[in-house]
């Protein structure tokens, strides 16, 4: 195995394990900090997919933004409430988990079915893409910029308008109400 492969497996293992711990952890705050680990190793996996821009964007948006906001929401709520979440329902724990287990198993089954049924080499566009792939030393940001400003300009602008709406909405909600 090359070093890249070892790194890939280590990062995937960290991502999977920490994601499992995030959902099984009783302590809410710890699971949020573990989520940080999941996102970080996911960013590493993105780098292996030659999507370094996506990896760094993931860090900026999820780690620097979303995660910090989530932690804020938790820190501002009651600590006692966080430590024992609805302890009254602990008796029927298995029944409690059943729907979740069912849904995840079904989803896993669907994924497995698709994987076994799919033959990537049979698609023509995948066979053709051999000549049209990125190399690690390519300047991906260059292609991204050109594509966003030409082929994907409309979705890009629509997303920015959506974000602007969210921003204005947030500012409006946070504003002090005038005395009448």
């Amino acid at each position: 195995m090359t070093v890249e492969q070892i790194l890939f497996y280590v990062m995937s293992a960290i991502a999977l394990l920490s994601a499992l711990l995030v959902v099984s952890q009783k302590n809410f705050v710890r699971s949020i900090f573990l989520f940080f680990l999941t996102l970080f190793s996911m960013a590493g996996l993105f780098v292996f997919a030659l999507a370094d821009f996506v990896a760094i964007t993931q860090l900026v948006i999820y780690v620097g933004g979303v995660l910090v906001l989530m932690i804020f929401a938790f820190l501002l709520s009651n600590r006692e409430l966080l430590n024992n979440p609805d302890s009254s329902k602990q008796q029927s724990s298995f029944l409690h988990y059943l729907p979740g287990i069912l849904v995840s198993m079904l989803f896993f089954g669907v994924l497995l079915f698709v994987f076994s049924d799919l033959h990537p080499e049979s698609f023509q566009w995948i066979a053709q893409s051999e000549l049209n792939t990125l190399k690690p030393q390519d300047n991906t940001i260059h292609y991204l910029g050109i594509n966003i400003m030409t082929r994907y300009l409309l979705p890009f602008e629509v997303v920015s308008v959506l974000l602007l709406m969210a921003l204005i909405g947030a500012a409006h909600i946070a504003r002090k109400e005038r005395d009448r």
């Binding site: 070093v3 302590n27 705050v29 710890r30 900090f33 940080f36 370094d52 821009f53 760094i56 964007t57 860090l59 900026v60 780690v63 620097g64 933004g65 995660l67 910090v68 932690i71 804020f72 820190l75 300047n139 991906t140 940001i141 260059h142």
Partner: protein
Amino acid sequence: MDFYITYILVAVVLFSFVAVFALFAVYAERKVSAFIQDRLGPMEVGKYGSLQTIADILKMLQKEFIIPAAADKILFAAAPVIIFLSVYMGFATLPWGPDLVPTALNLGVFYVFAIVSIEAVGILMAGWGSNNKYSLLGALRSVAQVVSYEIPAGVAIISAVMISQTLDLQEITMKQGVLSAVSMKFLGFWDVSEIGGFFAWNIFQAPHLIIAYVIYFIASLAECNRAPFDIPEAESELVSGFHTEYSGMRFAFIFLGEYSMMFLTGMFGVVLFLGGWNTFLPNVGSLRLADWTTGPFWGVFWIVSKVFIIVGTQMWLRWTLPRLRVDQLMNLCWKVLTPLAFFCMLISGIWQLLVM
């Protein structure tokens, strides 16, 4: 396998540089504060107290790890490491001289910007893990401040990137000195590609970047949690903020993180706006000062001395200016710096289209 050894060696060299820098920056800080307040500062250990911080670190190494009984032990122990690592990883893409850069990433600017924002998570971890209301309040204040000031800083950085037309920090530096492959114009009218020196720095290639640099500098003070933006550790209100409960090596790590953050933000600003490792001496006729003072060793010398000046300014400001209140701080960020930064970005676009 050889290049893996090089990678590790580079990382070790950078770490030792940062550690030594932090040690002597603490000493310098104490001497600067003493000078400003008309005191002597540390005088006992070594000549003029120059070994004071080494004695301090020896003391800290021997101290016991104290974990408060009510603290969340894992978070408490992990926080200083995350705070330091987030800063230390930022050094990976910063160029030190021509051909002297750990990794010439084509997303360098974006990478540093992203990595630095991880520090906020470490600070929150420290604040929550300590289970102390002063720590938690300090952490909340610190993160609110860091997240807000990232916006003017980011927009100011973008306005510099728009002039340089690349996100690779090494290329940005290249385009500000005699080694540049493209032509550079001082203030947009005088071609200085052969002259170099300070005329070719970004802030003199496009003068509105001076404003952008000032915005970036103010925002970097806030991101380092330094006075006048030190409400996260306001001694008179919060003991010492998010690191109240830390002692020994962990405290040392938080301090190491703080001082390397000063160096990192200073260096990042120098690379983007002040010519990075380029000399400030221009070529004057047959006196090829710029050519003579460009090279790997000169590069390290120039960038380190520039960053020292910036860090010195940060210290000077810390001991001269009073602390801002929370509402003043947010007003300054959202109502003054952010619009100004956007204005700089607008001028950058026009400048790029019409002048360059």
